[in-house]
């Protein structure tokens, strides 16, 4: 009988400790949510679009961004250069995917990561640049 009552108090103590530690853990999770990486990624996506918009296609004089959207042929022709150019422009730990009316260039997007993006409307259709860490 003595043993029975002792273990009951110990159980109560254990429950109390768990309760307090649980509330404390709630503090650590709730008070300081990690700052969202999104504004930083959005800025990098905008930088990519700006750089492509301000440069001519290699070996030509058309604006790169417009040429990507203009037609399937120009998109296919520019695809490898675009991939290389954007990979050079972005930091090494940032991956990208550019979506145009004629196709996409870049890496496959992982399903659950935070993504920064920007969309540029062009005469031939919108171009969306998405970037993420990975």
């Amino acid at each position: 009988m003595r043993r029975g009552q002792l273990s009951l108090s110990v159980i109560e103590a254990a429950i109390g400790v768990l309760l307090v530690v649980g509330v404390a853990a709630g503090f650590t999770v709730g008070v300081a949510p990690a700052p969202s990486a999104e504004p930083q990624l959005d800025s990098l996506a905008r930088d990519t679009a700006t750089l492509l918009d301000s440069e001519p296609v290699p070996g030509g004089s058309d604006a790169w961004l417009v040429a990507l959207a203009r037609s399937s042929e120009s998109f296919d022709r520019l695809r490898p250069d675009t991939r290389e150019r954007v990979a050079r422009a972005l930091p090494a730990d940032v991956a990208f995917r550019i979506t145009t009316p004629h196709g996409t260039v870049g890496y496959p997007r992982p399903p659950r990561t935070t993504v920064g993006s920007t969309t540029v409307p062009t005469r031939h259709g919108p171009i969306t640049v998405r970037v993420w860490y990975g």
Partner: protein, 223 residues
Amino acid sequence: MRGQTNLFALVVALVLLTGATVVGVSLADGALAGADREPVERHAAAATADRLIAADSPLTVRANTLNASRVAALNASRLHELAPVARTGDVRVALDGRPVVERGAPGGGWTVRRSVVVRSRAEPRSIRVNLSTQSTVSVPQGVDRATLTLASGPNTTLRSVRANDRVVLHDDGGLDTTATVHLDRYEPTTLRVDAGANATGRLVVTYRPQRVDDRILTVTVDA
């Protein structure tokens, strides 16, 4: 005796509870202390980067394209004029890791990264042309001036030099000089010496090609 053992267990339980509360309080303390001043640092770094690479920034030729010489002339007070946000705290602006300007020594803080290109002028390049075989020289795009040295051979009078059909040097008595001409930066330029079919002489064109490098601009603010 049973009552006493019960009391003892209760005291132990309360001591454990106190211990758990102390742990909880110190965890909460740590969490709150870690979130100090962060939003202000983040804003300062992001806003400074935006101002530095904006199209209307004195450092840029257009958005995200920096002029290397203007970047090199950046110092802490100029930075404060351009981006007065980070008034308190330490700031560092770097290109590909190499510091461009620093105020104080930011330890941790918040770092913002942007993609830019830096435009500079590369080493001078000279092209020598024998006028009896060739009378044109091509200068690539991005060059806004070139130095021409003309030496005419016997029985030859070189009267004018054109850049893309615009006359840039002219002397009816014959050109035998070194001169610097201004070119249109937005197009490749073809320099042509107006000389007859039997002209002899030498033309040397010296220019500094434009160089464009991809860089990552980082701004670190530690408040």
